[in-house]
């Protein structure tokens, strides 16, 4: 990996397109802008076809001889299975409203990252093979043959889209680029052309239950490690359960939060909150992943990984499922899970055992978002909170793409934040809620070899954070997504170094006054609480 250019260099962006027509501009694989190819062994684990080691850098991608037939057959099949795909191939008028809405285009200037053009990469092939006009008029009708070069172009750009759906908010017909790149990735996966940063976690999740490949005892160990820290901070010993039959609630959250900070602090927050409530819940080591990198691979792989959640809920005999803070996890749970692996008729309509609130909006899926759960607790005054403990923080909130545009969970996290800390500042309105910008590293693009791509994609978000940092002194970027916690940390270190990243349940747990706790001097990061530093120093 080459050394990443300095921020001042990377932010010199020219949004003007080049002189040559896009069809006549062959794809150029730029350094640090793409991920490594999937390893054969990871694809074999999930029985994927054409599993082999290959490298996007090499000229020869070791494709099967009939690769074109494979793609065209799948293309026809998906057109007949997805109205969205078929419609979005046909109705774009190229008005250009989406052009400058993509974070990769804004932060990079590559015209093929304009959503309209990213889609045209596929539409052009569609016209050539599936429309009469395209067959007759060819290039004049915007049609072109599927060649090896085009396939490589698909690979390069369909792994330069985080399926954040910001473009679909602005499109007058609601054309959703995610629907197109998802198909693109399905086709590429038929040829063994995944990226390893997705294929690895998928293989892990399939065999071990989570993306990180944490084995059951390791999950327990990681959590016990948090418990030690929690005991240090609060003096309270917490004893969570694992794979416990008969618990009322199964708790599922992304495994990333068990592994690296600042996600770990969010996980500690869950443990403390549930303990304080006396919640009858269990963790599962089998369904130990809320996220779903299968969703970034193919529809089928997404379903295969997702199946564990309901299967485990059924095995353990829980009443309902509570889900932690995560972005794409919730797109899947909200819009796909019940359709794939439901009906969840063996569960009950979720009801908060603390407040008695029945979550009618989740009565089919039986899965509640923790922000809904906690907001309800606060509203009913069930938590004793001391927001002064977060006084050293000036917080802003980053809406995750999937929870805002694929769900609409906007007010709950804000309500929670405002109740647990006193300094909250919104970023500019064109960059939050449904207009929010991607962290730049979603859909499995959070590898390290594509850091330039990630920093470019993260620029629009960072630019808005910088605005509140400069104007209000914001120093904490809160969010409800595990990938955000992992990736915005790097993006902030690069673009706005004084801003840290956290999940909202870290803030909740900091403010949470627990029964029988000792006087707290440290926050969850084991840093002195505001006003407590001196006292500690004197001891």
């Amino acid at each position: 990996m080459a050394k990443l250019p300095k921020p001042e260099e990377l932010s010199k962006i020219d949004l003007k397109p080049p002189k040559t027509d896009w069809m006549d501009t062959p794809v150029e694989f730029k350094e640090d802008m793409y991920c490594w190819g999937a390893k054969g062994k990871n694809l074999k684990v999930v029985e994927f076809p054409n599993a082999r080691d290959w490298s996007p850098k090499e000229e020869d991608w070791k494709l099967p001889e009939n690769w074109k037939e494979i793609v065209m057959e799948a293309f026809g099949d998906r057109l007949s299975k997805y109205r969205s795909f078929k419609l979005f191939m046909d109705i774009c008028v190229r008005c250009g409203a989406c052009a400058d809405k993509c974070h990769f285009f804004i932060g990079g200037g590559d015209p093929k990252n304009m959503p309209v053009l990213r889609a045209e990469l596929m539409r052009s092939v569609y016209r050539k093979h599936f429309t009469t006009g395209g067959k007759i008029f060819g290039k004049t009708a915007g049609a072109r043959e599927l060649t090896l070069n085009v396939l490589k172009e698909w690979w390069y750009y369909y792994y330069q889209c985080t399926e954040c759906r910001r473009c679909s908010v602005f499109c007058p017909y609601g054309i959703d680029t995610a629907e197109i790149t998802m198909m693109g990735r399905e086709f590429l996966n038929l040829l063994g052309l995944n990226i390893d940063w997705i294929a690895g976690p998928v293989a892990n999740c399939y065999m071990k239950g989570n993306h990180l490949g944490l084995e059951p005892h390791t999950i327990k160990n990681s959590i016990e490690f948090f418990l030690d820290d929690i005991e240090n901070i609060t003096g309270i010993k917490i004893e969570p359960t694992f794979n416990r039959k008969g618990a009322e609630i199964l708790f599922v959250t992304p495994s990333g939060d068990l592994f690296a900070d600042p996600g770990t602090y969010t996980a500690m927050g869950y443990l403390m909150l549930f303990h304080e409530l006396g919640l009858d819940y269990t963790w599962s080591t089998y369904a130990s992943e809320g996220g779903n990198f299968g969703f970034f691979t193919s529809n089928e792989m997404g379903k295969r990984l997702n199946s564990k959640i309901y299967a485990e809920a059924k095995r353990l005999g829980v009443k309902w499922i509570l889900g932690g803070e995560c972005g794409h996890m919730w797109r899947v749970l909200h819009q796909y899970m019940d359709t794939w692996n439901g009906p969840a008729d063996f569960l009950e309509v979720p009801k908060s055992p603390i407040t008695g609130t029945v979550f009618e909006n989740a009565k089919a899926t039986k899965m509640v978002h923790i922000a809904e759960f906690t907001a309800d607790l606060i509203k009913h005054g069930k938590l004793k909170l001391d927001p002064r403990r977060n006084d050293h923080l000036k917080v802003t909130f980053h809406d995750s793409c999937n929870t805002s545009r694929g769900m609409g969970i906007l007010e709950e996290p804000r309500y929670i934040i405002k109740n647990v800390c006193k300094n909250f500042y919104e970023m500019p309105e064109n960059t939050i809620r449904e207009y929010t910008f991607c962290c730049g590293s979603g859909t499995g693009l959070n590898a390290s070899e594509n850091m330039a791509l990630r920093m470019r994609g993260g620029l629009p978000r960072a630019n808005a954070v910088k605005y509140v940092h400069d104007n209000h002194g914001v120093n904490m970027l809160a969010n409800i997504c595990a990938i955000d916690r992992a990736t915005l940390k790097s993006a902030m270190e690069y673009w706005v170094p004084d801003v840290q990243v956290c999940g909202i349940h870290e803030l909740v747990a900091n403010a949470l006054v627990m029964k029988g706790e000792k006087e707290r001097t440290l926050d969850l990061r084991l840093e002195p609480l505001p006003g407590k530093a001196e006292k500690e120093g004197n001891e």
Binding site: K81, V93, R94, I106, S168, G174, G408, E434
Partner: protein
Amino acid sequence: MKIFFPLVIVMILVLLVFAGIKANLYFLFGVVIPYAALAVFVLGFIYRVLKWASSPVPFHIPTTCGQEKTLPWIKQNKIENPSSALGVIIRMALEVFAFRSLFRNLKTELRDGKIVYGSEKWLWAAGLAFHWSFLIILVRHLRFFMENVPVVLKTIEGLDSFLQIGVPLFYMTDAVILAAVTYLFLRRLYLPQIKYISLAADYFPLFLIFGIVLSGVLMRYFFKVHIVGVKILAMGLVGFNPDPKILSEIGAIFYVHLFLLSILFAYFPFSKLMHLGGVFLSPTRNLSNNSREVRHINPWNYPVHVHTYEEYENDFRDKMKKAGIPVEKE
């Protein structure tokens, strides 16, 4: 090429009309082609919509643009994030009649290393002006096909010409549509990004519509045609009994108007213009956001190979036991 080619095609189409009239092909241009074009339009439109509809909507994928329905004390955005059929209907109506999503448009600019977002309503305004004036003009033309002009039509005509300028009265929509089409063309020419993404298929309908409007304007305000003759022809066409004698009396420019319109109608089902039908079918807009409340069925959902808990426990039983995690089989 992308601009030149469609321009030449439209010019050739105009020349074809003059050649046809010279060769006395009135019946072809006045009767056969309009009928054929209308048939292609109607059948093609239906075919395309049915073809889209034949592909199912496997997943519930609305793009939500506001607060969802959750806890009773959190105010839901019932239109931008609808959970009921009524909400969806209002959302779709705003989309179709007011171009709601286009109204959100922003312009992203880089200024001294900072990214700023400015309001950009021109595309929305021009798009709305174009589509609405097109619709009003189309409705106004219905008077040619009716024995007695209904009050609604007269009202529309009255409003459209309320400036009361000139003889015949000047219709505002004529000017609006010319301006809007010109703007939509110029932005493709002068905005670098838009120029880069434009295809011949984007210029062709613009030229065609420009030709239709221009010929219409010329014939109404400047080169007068035999307007009673037009009405007789139109009534004849409606009754499937066109009078061949009237055809040669009308005037060439009318046939340019009619022929370009016929081409537009015939081209419609094969082109991006089908967004007219497509917008109603878009799953990111026409679904309510209630997928956790009501199960969405995928008709082609099929069983998949999964890694079961049993297999998992077999892999890790010893480690689980050692860690004190309960197992099914000891």
